[in-house]
Each structure stands twice: as C-alpha cells, then as structure tokens.
C-alpha cells in the first residue's frame, strides 16, 4: 500500500506499461523505456498548462484537493490526468495505423486511460471516474482533455 508517493508511482507505472496507450501517444519504439518516457510523455509535478510546444502527445498526472468523508481517518483523494494532443497530429503520415477515420486520437487516449483506471484497483486503491471534459488549451495547436478520478485512502 505505502504512502502517497507509492500511489502515484503505481499510477504512472500502470499507464506507462500499457502498450496500447504508448502506441496511441506515438511514443517511438526506441523511447519506450521508463527512463525515457517519464517527464517527456508521462509527466508529474508540472503545472497543468505548461506543455511543450513540440508536437508530441503528453499525459500530465496531478493530485487535486482531497475531500473529507464521514470517517475522520479516511479521505477521498483526487487524481487529475490531463491529456495534451497536438491538433495537427491527425495530418501526419505515421499515425493512421488502426485509427478509424472519424475517431480522434485524443479521445482514443482518453478511452484508454479510462479503461486502465476506472473501477480498477491500483496499489489497492479503487479508482472511480468523477469527471471527463475537454478544456480550452491556451497552448496554441494542442487540444486538452481533463480526467478526474477519486479514490479513498486512510490517513491513520
């Protein structure tokens, strides 16, 4: 179980270990190692809206404020995942594999993350999808999706 750091370590490992998600993010095969993907494609600890202007897909993992529950030792923590996908990526030649024409890559990434976390246990925490929105992205040329998951944890 461990602490908050273990929770987030396991979350990011769960996301990074999905071949489907890595392919959707267009991570080049020679960069599909934990050390190369972390901070470039799977980022923690950065402010939500600061993204690279390099046209690559990125997943940003943050903690949102937690909620109290009726049990003083249990809090409902919030995991926020933001997905930044360059708009122009649909026009490139190398990303058409297995993507149906009218299904946007950004939504496919969102679907993939929901499949990996919603109603699933990661580090013995059960995740539940609370919100899914497309937000305005101030980084020109990127679309931005926001996912919020809740999970209960004990602070004894």
């Amino acid at each position: 179980m461990g602490g908050v750091a273990t929770d987030f370590g396991q979350i990011i490992k769960t996301l990074m270990s999905s071949q489907e998600l890595r392919n959707l993010l267009l991570v080049p095969a020679n960069q599909q190692t934990n050390g190369l993907m972390i901070n470039k494609y799977f980022c923690q600890g950065i402010s939500s809206n600061i993204v690279t202007t390099t046209p690559i897909c990125r997943i940003i993992i943050n903690s949102n404020p937690s909620n109290s529950t009726n049990n003083m030792y249990v809090r409902e923590d919030m995991l926020a995942i933001e997905v930044f996908v360059p708009n122009a990526i649909g026009e490139s030649n190398f990303d058409t594999n297995n993507i149906p024409l009218f299904e946007r890559r950004s939504y496919q990434i969102v679907d993939s993350i929901i499949k990996l976390l919603n109603n699933k246990s990661v580090n013995d925490r059960k995740f539940h999808l609370e919100a899914r929105h497309e937000l305005v992205s101030s980084t020109v040329g990127f679309c931005r999706h926001f996912l919020q998951f809740s999970y209960k944890r004990i602070y004894a």
Partner: protein, 199 residues
C-alpha cells in the same frame, strides 16, 4: 402522542452546512483559477507581463460577506475600482499594442477616450513618450517619461490569451465535482432525527 418536524431549524442547519461546503469549494475554485493563470505563456520580450500576471493572481480573491442575513459569495473577483489592476487584467485578456484585440474588448472605446490613452500614439502601436506623463499600472501612479527620443516599442506588444474566458471556464469545469460533492456532503452531515419533535 403527537409527532411534528422542526422545519425551520432543519432549513437553517442545511443552509449553514451548504455555506460551509461552498466556502471550501470556492477556495478550491480559486486554486484552479490560479493554476490556470500561472501556467499561461507570456511574450518573453515583455517580461513585465509576468509581474502583471503575479499581481493579478495576488488580487484574485474569495470574498464571503454577510449582507442582510444572507451570505453573499464572490469568487475570483478583482477590485474594479483599481484602474491599474483592471488595466493589467484586461491587457492579459485582450493583448497589448498592435496585437490587441480591440473589437472583442468591450472597454476599448472607453480606454481610447480616457486619460490613460496617449493621442500621440496615433493608433495601437506602442511608442516611447518623451516629455509626457505615463501611467504605471503596477503602482497606480503617473510619472514623467524618462525617454529621450520617440521610438517604437513593438517588441512589447502581446496577443491576448483570453485569460478570463479560459481560466473561469476551465476552472469552473474542473471544480464541478467538488461543487456536487459539497452539496452531498452538506446533506449527509444533517442528522434528520434531531428535528423530530415528540409531544
């Protein structure tokens, strides 16, 4: 035996709990707004915009005041009587100089006819203004320009980032979960059995 329900006390307590929860939600909303605002890009040629951004963040506040028995809440309100602050906020929203979006800015006409606009600019271009009094929004004061010659300052013009539309819209969307959960929690905290009156 007669059983009745103390509705008045129940409603008062529900309103009290809702106010407590909405206070918490409003504070979270402000945090989201600050997060959105702080992450937005600034023209590197115009570093003063970073200071403006910090000042506007500082000025974003959550006010909860009791007025005629009602709790009135204002979220993310800027003090509109402060011309320097409003100038900074509007410049972040609509841009400056040649990059200003004058048609979208509802206060543009007022600005052009106000004392804050220098007719010698002859348009939206930014110039040094030797010999003229210039307004410094950071200090809310006028001072004599120390420029010795009139030169263009195009490098200072910046596109607006629709800061307010974006930060209000995005942060409200992100705080929606907290709003809904706050209402649930307020009701869950009420012990309805306490309001039964048995005679």
């Amino acid at each position: 035996m007669k059983v009745s329900f103390d509705e008045k006390r129940l409603i008062n307590d529900i309103v009290k709990q809702l106010n407590i929860e909405m206070d918490t939600t409003a504070k979270i909303l402000i945090q989201f707004m600050i997060g959105e605002l702080s992450g937005l890009p600034i023209n590197q040629n115009n570093p003063s915009m970073n200071e403006w951004k910090a000042d506007v963040i500082e000025a974003l506040k959550f006010r909860s005041v009791a007025s005629a028995g009602m709790i009135v809440k204002e979220v993310g309100i800027l003090e509109q009587g402060n011309p320097g602050l409003m100038d900074m906020a509007l410049s972040l929203e609509f841009g400056t100089g040649n990059n200003i979006n004058s048609s979208a800015n509802p206060w543009y006409g007022e600005f052009i006819s106000s004392e804050y606009y220098h007719a010698s600019r002859g348009g939206n271009s930014m110039w040094t203004l030797p010999g003229e009094d210039v307004f410094d929004p950071s200090t809310n004061s006028w001072s004599k320009s120390n420029a010795s010659a009139r030169t263009t300052m195009d490098f200072m013009s910046q596109q607006g980032a629709l800061y307010w539309s974006n930060i209000f819209g995005n942060s409200a969307t992100m705080a929606e979960t907290y709003f809904n959960k706050g209402i649930d929690r307020a009701i869950a905290k009420i012990d309805f059995s306490k309001y039964l009156i048995v005679k």
